[in-house]
Amino acid sequence: MTLAAASHGFLTPSGVEIAFLLVGLVTLGAAVVTVTTKQLVHAALWLVVALGGIAVEYLLLTAEFIAWVQVLIYVGSVVVLLLFGLMLTKAPIGRSPDADSGNRWAALLVAVASAAVLVWVVVDAFRASWIDLDGAAQGSTEVSGRSLFQHWVLPFEALSVLLLAALVGAIVLSRRNGEGPQETGRAAAPVSREGQR
């Protein structure tokens, strides 16, 4: 590590670092636009850019499998879900002046303060740490699959149960009440009361 530290320097960035920096700037900009834009649908689209940027960063960190999973799940499904959510809640198309709530300035203060503190701490801690990206790719599909199904099988299976539960929960929560029989689940009971009110 000390050898690596000696061979690298801040002022002599490698190509990977430059690429990482540029993609990072794009990602950050997309993220900032996502949380500040007044057009709700645009926010979702800028989120696609930010998540895609992160996927590229994964690739640069040699975590290929995670990068593709990121593209598949986030860009492919989550954002689509969010867009569906926006449409189902009749979000206005075009600029909506009240997209931000009243405590925007307090939120900005908290965010900037925490950013300052965290950046200070992180930079202070990892000033002299270098990632060695040479050698075999650390996140190839083979490596990830091997570790996942050798060491992480049990959490993986538990996660599948969690996903199933989330699926059932989402269905129960979002179906309309009053038509179906009561065996839709216990979670429906308070909702039905709410609906009759």
Binding site: G85, S101, A107, A115
Partner: protein, 121 residues
């Protein structure tokens, strides 16, 4: 590659997401901001996993799990938002003030939201 690059990027993304969670009015935009924060954490996990050359690849495995949990979270979250919207006619977070003690102005405002709810239903 210098470790500070992914770490600082993750910090900044996290704080941007934090700002979004605190400042956005629409619940779906809040969910988007939460996704940003989760991704910042994921980036950290992957970067440190690569840095440490972990033989178990705990960071990458945890990232996968986080992605799955985030997918579940977004599904449930959207279902809740839809339910709220259906009952109240609005998905604005700052209108969900039932936790507060109801003051005189709210008493006047409340029937309005009830009417909206009825209209939505």
């Amino acid at each position: 590659m210098h470790l500070a690059y992914p770490a600082v990027l993750a910090v900044l993304l996290f704080c941007v997401g934090l700002y979004g969670v605190l400042a956005r009015r629409n619940a779906i935009l809040v969910l988007m901001s939460v996704e940003l924060m989760l991704n910042a954490v994921n980036l950290n996990l992957v970067a440190f996993d690569v840095w440490l050359r972990d033989t178990l690849h705990a960071g990458q495995a945890l990232t996968l799990f986080t992605i799955a949990v985030a997918a579940a979270e977004i599904g449930i979250g959207l279902a809740i938002v839809l339910l709220v919207y259906r009952n109240r006619g609005s998905s604005d977070v700052d209108k969900l003030t039932d936790l507060a003690e109801r003051s005189a102005e709210d008493e006047q405002a409340h029937p309005q939201s009830q009417q909206q709810a009825e209209a939505a239903a």
